[in-house]
Structure formats: structure tokens, C-alpha cells
Amino acid sequence: MSAPSDSATATAHAPASASAASSSSGLTFKLHPLVIVNVSDHHTRVKAQAACSGDGSSSSGETQRGSRVFGCVIGVQRGRTVEIFNSFELVLDPVSGSLDRAFLEKKQELYKKVFPDFYVLGWYSTGSDVRDTDMQIHKALMDVNESPVYLLLNPAINLSQKDLPVTIYESELHVIDGSPQLIFVRSNYTIETVEAERISVDHVAHLKPSDGGSAATQLAAHLTGIHSAIKMLNSRARVIHQFLVAMKSGEVPVDNSLLRQVSSLVRRLPAMESQKFQDDFLMEYNDTLLMTYLAMFTNCSSTMNELVEKINTSYERPATRRGGRGAFM
């Protein structure tokens, strides 16, 4: 057993990194956002706990680059559509490198009671790329589901990346170097949301404070949203502008269709140039600025007030003779 598995892992090393091969099974994957939130929550929790307790008991997996978390994904498979609804966490035994079966089965039973339709569809883990040991876990799960799915979440925050750092892998039997092996192949997926899920994900994403009822925090949240939207608009417009400048200076070959698109976009913007509009606009702008100025003033005065009170309490001299004023203010 050890020799074939060694060779399997040895040769699986090369194709594992070349898992850019796309799946040919023809299954459509639908992912619910709850799964993504669950996985990221699990990862964050474990990371925070590990940071708190020093380098003590990080739950599972390698300690090379931080710990990986593992769990199961459950959902429904109808015909060619695989819909992943939910997930739960699992414990990985670091010694044997395999999942705790008893726990898995117990959890499966519990979930079956609540969601009778859901089956264990596969498992998830965190990391930036597929590891060799993953295949072992994958094979171990094959007795639960004959073709499990592997969901990988990349917890590294990459600001330039616009897509979700989630990849779904399937296992396929490929003939490599003459012997059939299971390798991971990437599959496409779509995100599917129910209305309730969308609201809750939105809520979590904005992380409103607990007393989000007060006007100040609501205003701040609203303004933050607007600010980020404007920032993104600004950066996109800048990209287009740079592109046009490059096209004008000849660095980029002139592309008429792109130019037409840009011009139609520009024409869609509302642009008024009359003097009255300028006047009214500037007057309102100045009014808002003055309000902000006033608010800043009030803020400053209140800070100053607190500061002076503190100075008075700490450096107060008792009232001197002749009733002279002792305090600073």
C-alpha cells in the first residue's frame, strides 16, 4: 500500500500543480454564499485563537504557513446540478492525516434530521493551492460520496484580485505515465442566493456596530458606502483616461470600437454647463462645507473642553489667599 501511494503522491505532485485542467464531467456547480462565509469564519476563528494562545494548539494541519481548517460541505445533487448549501467543520487528526470519521458520521446524522434532503457532497479546506495530502482525504471521503467535491478557499487577501478566492475541484481518473490516477481538476461554479441569504450576507459584510440604530453610525455607514463607490468610479475613470492618453500619444494602437464605447459612456453622463447651475451648485456645496466646518469646530471645542477639565483636575491648586483664581480656567 505504501509503495503505490508514494508513487501516486510523487507523481501527483506535478499534476496537482497543473490542476488548471478543467473538468470534463459536465456537472454544474452552484455555491451558496453561506458556505463561503462559514469557511472564512472558521479560518478566522482558528487563526485568532491560535494567535491568542501563542503557538500552542492550532487546530489542524501543517504549521508551515499557518494552520489549515477542514470541513464538510453538504447540499443537494439533482441530475447534473450540484448545489452546495451548507457546511460544517471537521477535525483533522494531525498524526494520521485523516479526518475523524466518528465525528463526521455523528454530524451527518444530526444534519440529516434537520435537512433530510442534504447529502455530504464533499469537503473544504483553506490554502493557496492544492496539496498532495489532500488527495488522501479526498479518497477517504469517497466512501461517503463516490465523487466528492473539494472546495478550496484562499485566505490570503489579494486586493488586486476581483474574483472570489474560491475554487472547486473535482477528482477525475486520468492516465498519467501509464497508470490511472486521480487528480484534481478545476470546475466552474456559480453563486446562487436566496433572498434571505442575500440580506444576511449583506448584513455581515457591512459589519454594523451593535447599536446601529443611532443616526451617527447610520450616517457614517451610508457615507462610507458612498465613498467607496465614488473611489471605485474614480479609479475606473482614471484607467479609461490613461488608456485614452496612451492611445492619443500613439503608444497603444487606435481601436475604434473601444473609442465608440467610451464616447457613448461619456455621452450618458449628465453634464450641465449653464451659469445658473454653477451658481446654485456652488452655493449648496459651500453650505454643506460650512456645516462641516461648524461640526469640526464643535468637535474641536468639545475636545478642548475635556482637555481643560483634565488639566484642571490634575494641576489644580487650592484657592490661594485673597480669593485669587487658582485654576487655569
Binding site: M283, M296, T303
Partner: protein, 426 residues
């Protein structure tokens, strides 16, 4: 105890990296004793071997030892010393001299005394300005060199040169005397430039600064403060609450004649004011304030005309002349014209029938310049607010404050107070 040549060799050798400079500093401190000073007369030729930029620290020590002995100054003082010191101040490296700040300050002071003795204050301006920038740890720190620099600018009548130093806001002050001198001289420079609002601000600071006993600088500052506020605002505001008690009690006693002047001004009659000023002219002259007092007199007209804007919408020139106690309508027209140009009032003069109509402030807040103006004010205020918050946090951690707070809480056990100061800690 090393001979001077060995010291010079050390200086030349050890002025490379910061560790070397620190080592050199220790050596110099050891060598800085009386016997070294006894030889200080011979330093001049050694100074020629050293470069001010790279060997700043050593140069500073030698120079300071040289200039602080008065015998040397009398023998070798004069233009050469000026040139050497001025070159040093402009060329020295800021990091090295910060290791020996008091020696640097000594050199600056001696330079200032020298230029004043030679009656050429203008020669000290450039080196001292460089010195100010170099010894400041941050642009917000006040050093004794500031006061000397401003004094030289005043004596040389180079007011604009003083502006560059005055424009920085000061947040850290070491010696109260520096603050008083800075505010007083700064106020005078602004008066010289006719920027009365800023002058008022600085003089106000000088008057209301905390002082335990009365000092002459505050008295002089108060005299000018009265005059400038009469010119600018038409009245002298009463002391704010945060003025020290000594100031409130004694300042008025020492400046009685100015207080009388302000009451006379408040009555609004030009002739009375003029006679009062004439009768006390020598007193004002001895304080060097006669020029300012004359400006107060001429501002009397402006004040009266401004008072008219609050009562009338239109007024004829003769009426203006009559109520402002001017002699002819032509004079009134001239005054009104000048005030319109300065932006002090808003009016239009109709020359055909000699009527002046007063307007509201025509600012509609519709322009982009106003946007920029308000925006820059907001930015300034944000920076100030950040500073205040940081000072607030610092005070909250101050042990004196914590002790007082802890004591006040007593032995109550409010659950809300649980994460604040444990009162038994001290």
C-alpha cells in the same frame, strides 16, 4: 587631557558615521574643561582646518569655547568672528549640533550680541534663520534663537524675513521667557507689516500666558495690545477667563495711561482724543509707541464711519463729514473710498448727488475660491483637532491626573467603572 592638536585630529577622524560622532561627543565632553578653555585663544587657526559641514560637532565645541571667553571676543572679535560664526551657522549639519544644543545656543547668542554691538543687525539675519531651522526638532518647537532672530529682524527693519519664522504655529515651548519674547517681537513685526489681526493674536498670547509674577515683557505687550485692538476693533476686550490672576490684577495698574486712552477713544470725539494724545506725547514717545498712537488717532475716523453703516442705508457726504467730525465732504469721500478699497466697508459712492449707499456683504458664497477657502479652513481645523486629541490622550495617561481621578472615585464599585483606573493603585 589632550592637547588641542590631538583633539583636532580626533575631530577630523571621527566625524563619519553617527556612532563615531557619538564617540567624538564623549571625547569632547571629557576635554571640555577649564584647561581647554585656557587655550581657547589659539583656536582660531585650528578652526581653519575643520569643515563646518562634516565636523560640525567639533567645530561647535571649539567655537563655543572661543566665544564664551570675553577676553577672546575683545581681542579677536569683530568682522572675522562674525564671518566665521555666520559660515558655521549656515553650513553646519543639524544632526551633529543637536547633540550639544546649549553650546549651539551660546554661539547664536554671542553672534547676536556681536552684530548688535557692531550695529549691523542685518548681517545676523541669514545665519540665525539657518540656525533656527537647524536646532528645531520639529517646526513647531520654540527655541531661544527665535526671539533673537526676530529682534534682529526688527532692528534691521526686515519684517518680511521674520515672517517665515512667524508663520509656523508653535506647539512646544521650553522656557516661558522665550514665549514672551517671541510673542512680543512677533507682534511688533506684524504691526510693522500692518497685519493687525495677526499682531493682535500674538500680543494676546503674550498677555494671557500663564505667569506667576508680572514681567516687563507682558506689560509692554499689553500696551501695544491696547493700541492694536483699538486700531483693529475699536475697543479693548476685557481679559478672558484664562488670563493669570497676576496679569489681571497688575497689568492695568502699570499701563494706566493707555487705559485712559482707550476710554477716551470710546467716547468717539476726535478732538478730545487728539488733545489727550498731545498732552501725553512724551509718555508715549518714551515707550516708543507714538507711531502706533498716531495710527489709533487716524483709525478714529474709520470707526465713526463704520458706525454709520449700521444706522443708515444711504447718507450724503456732508452728513458723513459732520458725524465723523471731518472738515470737508471731500475728506469724507477720500476716507470712504479708502475704506472701500481696503474692504472694511461695502458701499458705493454716487458722485453726482454726493450720496453714499451702504450695502450688505456682497459675498454670495457662490464661487470656487470660497470653496477652496472653506476647504483649507476645514483641513487646518482637522489637523488641529488631531493635535488636541493626542494631547488629550497624553494627559489621560498622566500620573498626576490618574491619581486625582482615582482618589475621587472613592470606594464605590460601579460596574461601569470597572475598567477604568484601579483606585488603590496609587
Amino acid at each position: 587631557m589632550e592637547s588641542v592638536e590631538a583633539l583636532v585630529a580626533h575631530i577630523q577622524g571621527l566625524s563619519g558615521s553617527p556612532q563615531e560622532v557619538a564617540h567624538l561627543h564623549n571625547l569632547l565632553k571629557q576635554a571640555d574643561c577649564e584647561s581647554l578653555r585656557a587655550h581657547s585663544a589659539a583656536f582660531v587657526q585650528f578652526l581653519a582646518h575643520l569643515q563646518p559641514e562634516t565636523h560640525s560637532l567639533g567645530y561647535l565645541y571649539l567655537l563655543e569655547a572661543f566665544v564664551t571667553s570675553t577676553a577672546n571676543l575683545m581681542d579677536h572679535g569683530g568682522r572675522d568672528l562674525l564671518v566665521t560664526a555666520a559660515d558655521f551657522l549656515t553650513a553646519c549639519s543639524a544632526d551633529q549640533i543637536r547633540l550639544a544644543p546649549d553650546k549651539f545656543l551660546n554661539v547664536c547668542r554671542v553672534l547676536k550680541d556681536q552684530v548688535m554691538q557692531l550695529n549691523m543687525p542685518i548681517r545676523g539675519i541669514a545665519p540665525l534663520r539657518a540656525a533656527v531651522r537647524k536646532i528645531q526638532a520639529s517646526p513647531e518647537q520654540l527655541t531661544p534663537v527665535h526671539a533673537d532672530y526676530l529682534l534682529l529682524c526688527l532692528l534691521a527693519k526686515q519684517y518680511k524675513a521674520g515672517l517665515s519664522v512667524l508663520e509656523d504655529d508653535i506647539f512646544e515651548v521650553d522656557q516661558p521667557r522665550d514665549l514672551f519674547l517671541y510673542c512680543y517681537y512677533g507682534g511688533m513685526i506684524y504691526i510693522g507689516l500692518k497685519k493687525f489681526p495677526k499682531a493682535l493674536e500674538l500680543l494676546h498670547n503674550a498677555v494671557t500666558a500663564p505667569m506667576s509674577s508680572l514681567n516687563a515683557i507682558a506689560v509692554e505687550a499689553y500696551k501695544k495690545y491696547i493700541l492694536v485692538s483699538l486700531i483693529q476693533n475699536g475697543h479693548v476686550p476685557s481679559f478672558p477667563k484664562y488670563t493669570s490672576s497676576t496679569a489681571q490684577r497688575s497689568l492695568k495698574n502699570h499701563t494706566q495711561i493707555y487705559v485712559d486712552l482707550s476710554t477716551c477713544y470710546g467716547n468717539g470725539r476726535y478732538v478730545e482724543l487728539e488733545s489727550f494724545i498731545l498732552s501725553n506725547a512724551e509718555r508715549f514717545q518714551s515707550d516708543n509707541n507714538l507711531g502706533l498712537v498716531k495710527q489709533v488717532l487716524s483709525s478714529m475716523y474709520k470707526r465713526n464711519i463704520q458706525r454709520l453703516t449700521q444706522t443708515y442705508l444711504t447718507l450724503s457726504l456732508e452728513d458723513i463729514a459732520r458725524s465723523a467730525q471731518l472738515n470737508t465732504p471731500k475728506e469724507a469721500e477720500m476716507h470712504v473710498l479708502r475704506m472701500i478699497e481696503d474692504g472694511e466697508i461695502h458701499a458705493t459712492i454716487n458722485q453726482k448727488d454726493g450720496m453714499v449707499s451702504f450695502h450688505e456683504d456682497p459675498e454670495q458664497y457662490k464661487s470656487i475660491e470660497m470653496v477652496e477657502h472653506i476647504d483649507s479652513s476645514i483641513q487646518r481645523l482637522t489637523a488641529l483637532s488631531k493635535k488636541l486629541t493626542s494631547i488629550d490622550e497624553n494627559i489621560s495617561c498622566d500620573p498626576a491626573y490618574l491619581m486625582k481621578i482615582g482618589r475621587e472615585r472613592g470606594a464605590r464599585f460601579d460596574y461601569d467603572d470597572f475598567d477604568s483606573v484601579p483606585h488603590k493603585y496609587f
